[in-house]
Symmetry: C2
Subunit: 196 residues, 2 copies
């Protein structure tokens, strides 16, 4: 399932974040980066608050992009978007052929998520998708940067660690996700805020 590959300094990475939960439709923003250095493009789509369309919308956004042929990894900010719209990372990998890395600042409280999912008629389906993303692994930060936690599809832990180190220029959050977050909050709220 997982394949190692050579990681160039300018490896193209798509970081995806969502914006504030203001309306029923929630904007997601993709930032196409070359390594941690600069942005090549911006993608935008909309998903449904607490819906189950995030996986398909993300797949479509990737497959339709002019950057599709260049993108070597997709980075997600956690595995739930727009509330409890859970993302099936194995499906994204299968449909696009691009490995997926889920990045988390801290270890998510899956028991809490599982409890919340009980209020959804399709809560079990959502929980299965979360479980399918596999175990949570720790990636140590370097040069005093804090550790982060990851899940992954289609890529080895070693390659994930290399990509995280290469792209975490400004903080312990990789640039594609840091910048996608700035764009998503800035566009919706008028000024960017907080951390990815």
């Amino acid at each position: 399932m997982s394949s190692d590959f050579h990681i160039k300094r300018e490896i193209r990475i798509l970081g995806i974040d969502d914006s504030a939960l203001i309306n029923e439709k929630v904007m997601i923003v993709g930032a196409v980066f070359r390594g941690g250095d600069w942005m090549d493009g911006v993608l935008r789509s909309d998903i449904t608050k607490d819906g189950l369309d995030a996986t398909d919308v993300i797949c479509r956004m990737i497959l339709r992009s002019k950057h599709y042929g260049q993108i070597r990894a997709v980075m997600l900010d956690g595995i739930t978007y727009a509330g409890f719209n859970v993302v099936d990372i194995e499906k994204i990998y299968r449909e696009t052929g691009i490995p997926v890395i889920v990045v988390m600042r801290s270890k998510p409280d899956f028991e809490k998520i599982k409890s919340a999912l009980k209020y959804f008629p399709d809560g079990e389906e959502r929980w299965t998708i979360i479980e399918r993303a596999g175990e949570i692994e720790k990636v140590a930060g370097e040069r005093g940067k804090g550790s982060i936690y990851i899940q992954r599809a289609g890529i080895s832990l070693e390659s994930v660690s290399k990509i995280i180190r290469l792209t975490s220029i400004r903080s312990n959050i990789p640039e594609p996700l840091r910048v996608a977050h700035l764009i998503a909050t800035g566009i919706i709220l008028g000024e960017s805020r907080g951390k990815a």
Copy 2:
């Protein structure tokens, strides 16, 4: 009117671009950069297609931003936004205290603009604002990069040249403007396109 100042490598610059003319309200995006290196924040406002509110909206956007105290220069992509919504760069400088640099890929055809403005009841007022932005000067690109043209308020030509060189990492267009353009087109069209 114009003041020279020390230019640090990480000088904070706000680049502002507009998005496609799809609706009556046109989104403008501000990208707060540190030199040409990385983005610190994203601002968003709306102006009126062919209106005359761009100057005031830009002033408000700057004055309200948490980055206001750090921004040392504002970069505009030409002097007309959202159609013929002309920007009064002297007024922005006066109201915010921040120097303004207008960047143009090629020398604008002011005769053509003047002709078009005849169809506006307040065309003369708009033309006066354009004239007030002063003469167009050429800034030579380095390392094979093409020259660009500029107008300026509150800053010497020498300082403008230094800032342009420092921030034009990827092309002859400074990063704050290149990235503001990617965001503005990406968010409105679903995927970024074209050049700032």
